[in-house]
């Protein structure tokens, strides 16, 4: 009976190979197109390999724990002549089985004759296809962009007519020529600096979680405080205390390590003309709220007059921004490129709050806290825990 | 010959005191042969000496300082630092600068002679020297054959000094006598005892005259023993000590001196004066050469073509 190969299927765009994790059948089994012949793993998802038609398994050459490229033959299926004609496409021959090398020649007793073309970078994860197409920037394009002061992110709005959808020099020139018909205002140095920071920040997967917090305790505390901390400062202190308890959320992922901050220094956003400055208060977790007021005011003043010394806006563990001052209720702020966290405070407003005890609504002043975080360092759960802790600290302001 | 011997002694000591970079090649023992050829050449002739022809070069007219300048690396030497030691010459004056590949100069001289023939020059001679080892090359063979075919007025002086570097003649050629090759090339063959100056002058003079008279190419094979190493870095310890007892090991210079004194052509006083004068000449030449500027890589014209507009452009 004729044979057709059992082939490693195309498992997804840009997946080039997968690892066999389980073989569910054996030679001699009768199978059909619904049968799961074997299981392969790509990026934490396990998928099964099927055959195109009914037949009997004639051979299974794939081995558990080995990776094979898409299109490789993993075994052979005995089928009818008709089916062979319809489905017998050629496949890349499977790699040779393991070869024993006498000990002393290599550290391992055996050498895997893994596939010649594909070497997985991380075991079990898919290997991306060769970089070309839309993301490829040729030396020529790079040179032209350099001449014009453009960055890769500036290309995102340009449709590419080149190979694989990439942007060619012609595309770029046409686009720029088109732009000249628009009104243009020059971007200030501050604007460009912020643009650069945001571009770098955005290279990470950022996510945001939100939580409503009751501001009444904070407002009451404030009323009787002398000197008076601003609402932002309460949030700064609460965040610092929470991070002082567990700093992981403020960590940074570098390679395979999470780098924890040495001290809980918190920055806060101050609007200056055409940009945002972020002065930093040091060791906030170790200073009580009332003792922070002076430093906070000083920094705000310096920021507004653009006289911040450089050491006051470097190296903070996290940043707080109060966009509530603009009347905004909610936002997804973007953490600074060197940080993993940005905590935002929205505008306070009167809202009805269900009180279980009296079984009725009570008016409270509430605001939404939003915490943007680098999803490589923590997941939603940890972000939520941090935010919840901050909120709980804010409703007991006398402890701050 | 004395000048040649003294200059070479000087070169040797300069080398041993580290003043010379690269190899030093001496013609000690074959001065009689070399000088005889040089003396019989005239302006208009073409001469391509080889590595042991200090005597011949001086006889042909090379300024004494040329050799020292080339060895000591003076920028003012004929090769301007671009080549060294015995790889020197003044081609426009008919004095060719050898390349290291032995045998190659024979066809160059042949070509020069063909050019002179085109020009209608008559009574000219081309001369070159070669050793027992150099005669083994294909280059030599092709050139000899070609010169024979063209019947050029070429004189090839082959000095069999018994060794080619460390290789004795038993490992170098299979014929009984190197002069036997002449017949194969269409050359007239001559042999001479290289230790006897008067015989060298006579035989080589005769060969040159024959060539000049249009009697075709001439091969003269002279026999001596090489009285130095292949180069000064070689101690020649491989030389068969028995050879040193033989006639061929006699120093042609000493024999010539003895003969001149015996026949009353020179007195010892004359000889002493001559030697002292020559040594002074050498001293002057050496000290002059040593004070001259050396090549400067920064100001050097790094261009190998005379057609400057065709120089290839390389960036870095």
């Amino acid at each position: 009976m004729p044979l057709i190969p059992i082939i490693m299927p195309q498992l997804g765009e840009s997946i080039a190979e997968a690892t066999v994790v389980n073989i569910r059948t054996q030679v001699g089994d009768l199978v059909n197109s619904e049968s799961d012949i074997l299981d392969v793993e790509t990026n934490k998802a396990v998928m099964s390999v099927n055959v195109p038609c009914s037949g009997k398994i004639a051979s299974l050459t794939a081995e558990v724990g080995h990776s094979y490229p898409v299109g490789t033959a993993l075994g052979a299926l005995e089928v009818t002549a008709e089916d062979a004609q319809r489905h017998g496409n050629s496949a890349t021959p499977a790699p040779e089985p393991e070869v024993e090398i006498p000990a002393g020649k290599t550290n391992d007793a055996t050498v895997k004759k893994e596939d010649i073309q594909v070497a997985p970078t991380v075991r079990g994860l898919p290997v991306p296809a060769k970089a070309q197409g839309a993301s490829f920037i040729s030396p020529r394009l790079k040179a032209r962009m350099l001449e014009l002061g453009l960055r890769a992110s500036d290309l995102s709005g340009i449709p590419g007519s080149g190979s694989g959808g990439r942007v060619t020099v012609d595309d770029l020139e046409k686009y720029l020529a088109g732009l000249s018909k628009n009104r243009t205002t020059p971007a200030s140095r501050m604007r460009i600096a912020v643009a650069d920071a945001m571009r770098r920040s955005w290279t990470r997967p950022l996510a945001t979680v939100g939580l409503y917090v009751n501001l009444d305790p904070l407002l009451a505390h404030r009323k009787i405080s002398q000197p008076k901390p601003g609402p932002t400062l309460y949030v700064i202190r609460a965040l610092a205390v929470a991070l002082g308890e567990d700093s992981i959320a403020a960590g940074r992922l570098v390679g395979a390590n999470i780098i924890h901050p040495n001290s809980i220094d918190i920055g806060f956003a101050v609007e200056a003309a055409d940009g945002v400055l972020v002065p930093v208060i040091r060791n906030v977790d170790q200073v009580a709220l009332k003792d922070l007021v002076e430093e906070y005011s000083r920094l705000v003043e310096l920021a507004r007059s653009r006289r911040l010394p450089p050491d006051t806006f470097e190296n903070s563990a996290a940043t707080v921004t109060n966009f509530g001052t603009f009347g905004l209720t909610w936002a997804t702020p973007i953490p600074l490129p060197e940080q993993s966290l940005l905590l935002g405070l929205g505008a306070g407003r009167k809202a009805p709050h269900w009180d279980e005890e009296i079984e009725d609504f009570l008016p409270i002043t509430e605001a939404e806290l939003t915490l943007s975080f680098d999803h490589r360092v923590i997941d939603g759960g940890a972000a939520g825990k941090l935010l919840t802790r901050v909120a709980s600290l804010l409703i007991t302001p006398e402890a701050l | 010959m004395l000048l040649a011997r003294f200059s070479e002694d000087r070169l040797s000591s300069l080398w041993k005191s580290g003043k010379i970079v690269g190899g030093v090649y001496l013609g000690r023992g074959q001065e009689a042969l070399s000088v005889s050829l040089g003396l019989h050449l005239r302006p208009g002739d073409v001469y391509a000496p080889l590595i042991r022809d200090q005597a011949g070069r001086l006889a042909f007219g090379e300024p004494l300082i040329d050799g020292f300048r080339t060895y000591l690396g003076s920028r003012l030497g004929p090769m301007r630092g671009r080549d060294g030691n015995i790889h020197r010459g003044r081609p426009r004056e008919g004095y060719l600068a050898m390349i290291s590949h032995l045998g190659c100069m024979v066809s160059a001289v042949a070509g020069s002679l063909m050019a002179k023939r085109f020009h209608g020059d008559t009574g000219v001679v081309g001369a070159t020297c070669i050793g027992d080892g150099g005669m083994s090359t294909g280059s030599f063979h092709e050139a000899m054959n070609l010169a024979g075919v063209e019947k050029l007025p070429l004189v090839v002086l082959a000095v069999n000094n018994q060794y080619a570097y460390s290789t004795p003649t038993t490992r170098q050629f299979a014929c009984k006598n190197l002069v036997d090759r002449a017949i194969g090339y269409g050359f007239a063959g001559h042999t001479v005892d290289g230790t006897q100056l008067d015989e060298c002058l006579a035989t080589i003079g005769h060969a040159v005259a024959l060539a000049r008279a249009g009697k075709g190419p001439q091969l003269v094979v002279g026999t001596v023993l090489r009285l130095a190493g292949h180069a000064e870095h070689d101690d020649a310890s491989y030389v068969d000590p028995k050879l040193r007892e033989e006639k061929i090991a006699a120093d042609c210079l000493r024999l010539a001196e003895e003969k001149l004194l015996a026949e009353g052509v020179l007195t010892s006083a004359d000889l002493a004066t001559m030697k002292s004068q020559l040594l002074t000449e050498i001293d002057d030449a050496v000290s002059q050469a040593q004070q001259e500027p050396v090549p400067d890589a920064g100001t050097e014209d790094w261009c190998a073509l005379s057609s400057r507009h065709l120089v290839d452009g390389f960036n870095g």
């Binding site: 020099v169 | 070509g111 065709l310």
Partner: protein, 321 residues
Amino acid sequence: MSITYLEAIREAQARALADDPRVFIYGQDVGEFGGAFKATKNLAREFPGRVLDAPISEDAIVGTAIGAAIEGMRPIVEMQFADFSSVGFNQIVNHAATLFWRTEVSCPITVRLPSGGNLGSGPFHSQCMEALYAHYPGLIVMTPATVEDAYSMLLEAVAIDDPVIFCEHKYLYYHLKAEALPTDALPAGKARIARPGRDATIVTYSAMLHECLAAAEELALDSYQIEVVDLRTVKPIDTDTILASVARTGRLLAVGEAFPWGGVTAEIIARVATEGYELLDAAPQRLNARDTPIPYHPNLWAAHRPTSPAIVNALRNLLRL
């Protein structure tokens, strides 16, 4: 009236002999017989005593030419096949090429090498040796691809005071014809845009020019405009013209008939990669013969060196990159 590439070479030699009494031709069978390819047909008779038969001694032939050049002559040496010049290689690269550098006396010899493959010529009658000679300082290496260039560049070679290795292509001898001899020409050292284009640049020389032009024609059917640059001389290489072309097209394919290691195509790519990196839209490519001796059988020979279908393929790949 039409004139072949070979006839152009003969005409150039006749003209050189007529114009300059210092010129003579030396090589095997060049005299009465007129040369193995008839490149010197009738010249011995027309110029008695100036077209001389040499023995089979390439070393001595070149050495003789050098010696004659030192004494003021302008010899043209005909090697019967480029492949045999390896016997005279030493005299060419160590004597002729070093003479001016070492002695300030220039060496105006011209060495004609019948180069390149022909049907059935096999490993020792087909070689392209320009890369070997170009490698040595002190030589000029010419690779004319057209009838006109064969004529004017040979005349220029004789007039140049330095040793010129003139690689004339045997296949073009009888296959290439022109209407008339040229009255003017680009100087040696300048490349020529044989076909203007926009989408990719081919840099090539000698017989490959015609294969490349055919390939460009085919791609024109798919609306690709391929620019073809004929180097004409491979030492020196006209880097400026090449870079200007790549600046226009952004893509480079270097095509040569010689063996793949090192060579003219490698040299072109090295220069463009170092001096024109930012002009490139894609990695520069090259196409050469296979890394084996040149086979004898026509089936094998056809697959050994680049032909226009192979060039078309290479271009399609290049355009996709």
